[in-house]
């Protein structure tokens, strides 16, 4: 860090001015008080395009303090463009410590994944949300969807699941899988794979959702019931994988498919890079890691 960037953090900590942070914190408090309810807030222009996590960045900027340790992931990875730029942004404007280790972080900003390692109490998970309204593609009118939330009219959500089964024989929704929070509000868990839905249930960490373009904040407080919607004869199921991670040999984790060549070669690797690295450091090896498994 040079003197110039230090100055930015001192001149105005965490980019947003204090009144804006105060407004966002009030929205966050309201969201925590009513789990799953979308609280409107006056979303600001951020120095990045919509769709790059402007909502998540505003939430993080409002809750971050000088002693926080920040981790940023994009689809589970710490080293992709979105994660790297947002991490650099907060290093510059807040001068905070950053990490890639899930266990060391106090705030984890995420784009579309929940880390594999169970979160602890005291940690905050901040989601970047593109479309907060789970009913959007079924009912285009915002006035109507708000009324439906208010009156708890959620039959329409099951129409979508019905359509899935009618067309594909099973519930084919694999991401942005609708959940019911604390038995009341139906919520879009941002486009996380449904693999992550069970991790939201009774999570020890606070989960905050920010949608910058849509100007909504919602939250799931710690130890809150989060149930995925389903039918009695077609219960909710998470994705399963046929093979373990090709690098660390991990099972029961979410895997990304990586195409290796144009002759059908492919490998499946952990989407959570931190988890994969930690496992390899412990000596676990997959079949494509290029080295023999260490004797543990």
């Amino acid at each position: 860090m040079n003197a110039h960037t230090d100055n930015i953090a001192q001149y105005n900590f965490a980019y947003l001015d204090e009144q804006t942070k105060r407004m966002i914190r009030r929205a966050i408090l309201k969201a925590i008080a009513i789990p799953g309810y979308q609280v409107p807030f006056a979303s600001r222009e951020m120095p990045m395009p919509y769709g790059w996590g402007t909502g998540g960045v505003q939430v993080t900027a409002s809750i971050i303090g000088t002693d926080d340790v920040l981790k940023v992931i994009d689809q589970g990875a710490d080293d992709t463009t979105n994660a790297v730029s947002i991490r650099a942004f907060f290093q510059k404007v807040a001068n905070v410590a950053v990490t890639t280790h899930t266990a060391d972080a106090t705030i984890i900003q995420t784009r579309h994944r929940i880390p594999e390692e169970p979160l602890k109490s005291g940690q905050v998970l901040v989601y970047q949300v593109p479309i907060p309204e789970p009913l959007r593609f079924l009912e285009p009118r915002e006035t109507e969807t708000r009324k439906m939330h208010a009156l708890e009219e959620y039959g329409l959500m099951h129409v979508k699941l019905y359509e899935d089964i009618a067309q594909h024989g099973h519930i084919a929704t694999t991401f942005a899988y609708p959940v019911k929070v604390e038995g009341r509000y139906v919520m879009d868990p941002s486009p996380t794979p449904k693999f992550d839905n069970p991790k939201m249930h009774m999570s020890k960490a606070l989960q905050l959702f920010g949608a910058g373009r849509e100007k909504r904040i919602y939250a799931v407080p710690p130890y809150t019931r989060v149930e995925s919607l389903d039918f009695e004869d077609h219960p909710f199921e998470i994705q399963t994988f046929d093979e373990p991670c090709a690098l660390c040999g991990g099972t029961n984790v979410y895997l990304d498919e990586v195409v290796l060549d144009d002759r059908g070669g492919r490998m499946f690797v952990c989407s959570d890079t931190d988890n994969c690295e930690a496992r390899r450091a412990e000596g676990h090896r997959g079949h494509l890691s290029g080295e023999e498994a260490a004797t543990v």
């Binding site: 039959g155 329409l156 099951h158």
Partner: protein, 258 residues
């Protein structure tokens, strides 16, 4: 049959600024009765229907509905949640244009099943079985259950809309020109179907139409409207065979003969 009406309408008026939508209309609708509201375009038929079905707030007057527990409730003193619940369980609304009453982007089965899911059914197999049953009752073949309504003909869409409304066995159905825009042979089939369903299920219905033949076939009683006022009302056969009001006489004599 009970000796109390299902719907009690008292002095309903709706003004659009200085213009009259409908003025001072009162009647009772009895269980199992089909009431036709006829009149020319702009006579306030649809305004009246919307005022009765809570889709439009009347300027004055009361509409009370006898709930399943036998108690009368003033529709406009109920909470919005109660009104909407009534709309999707105990009532049906058949629009003239099926696209207004259907979800055009989900399959026929889901269209029929939506009301079931809205009242809390969560068993896919049962919902689908009920949907299949209802499609066959409105003469839509079973293999069309996963097609979207936009792949359906006008007549099929209208029948699908009817199935969608009747699946929760409502007691009262509002119909706004249910046969409008259909050709005559399809119209005849739809009327036949409607008549047998109404009879089978013991439905009460309020049918708005400008077609006196539809009123003759479906309804027991009718109201003739002109410029927002009721000019004549009575048993359908009486009104059509022996019209008293000059306007009704004009209307009846205007029917084209083939």
């Amino acid at each position: 049959m009970t000796d109390e009406p299902l719907l009690r309408v008292r002095s309903i008026s709706k003004f659009y600024g200085n213009r009259i939508g409908c003025n001072d209309i009162s009647f009772d609708l009895w269980p199992g009765e089909v009431l036709a509201v006829v009149g020319e375009s702009g006579s306030g038929k649809t305004t009246l229907l919307n005022c009765l079905s809570t889709r439009l707030l009347p300027t004055s007057g009361t509409v009370s509905y006898r709930m399943r527990d036998g108690a009368f409730h003033d529709l406009y003193r109920m909470s919005e949640a109660e009104r909407r619940f009534l709309m999707r369980t105990d009532w049906g609304f058949v629009h003239q244009n099926p696209a207004d009453g259907l979800r055009m982007t989900v399959s026929a089965g889901a269209n029929v099943g939506e009301r079931l899911m809205a009242v809390g059914q969560r068993h896919y197999g049962n919902i689908r079985a009920t949907a299949t049953d209802w499609l066959s009752r409105v003469e839509i073949s079973e293999d069309r259950i996963d097609d979207q309504p936009r792949a359906f003909s006008g007549g099929m869409r209208q029948r699908l809309q009817i199935a969608r409304n009747l699946v929760t066995s409502p007691r009262l159905v509002f119909m706004d020109e249910p046969t409008g825009g259909l050709d005559v042979s399809v119209q005849a089939r739809l009327l036949d179907l409607l008549r047998s369903l109404v009879h089978e299920l013991g439905l009460s219905a309020i049918v708005v139409t400008h077609d006196l033949a539809v009123a003759r076939l479906l309804s027991h009683r009718m109201i003739v409207m002109k410029d927002g006022h009721v000019v004549e009302s009575g048993l359908t056969d009486r009104v059509l065979d022996d019209p008293q009001a000059p306007y009704t006489q004009l209307l009846v004599s205007s029917i084209l003969q083939v």
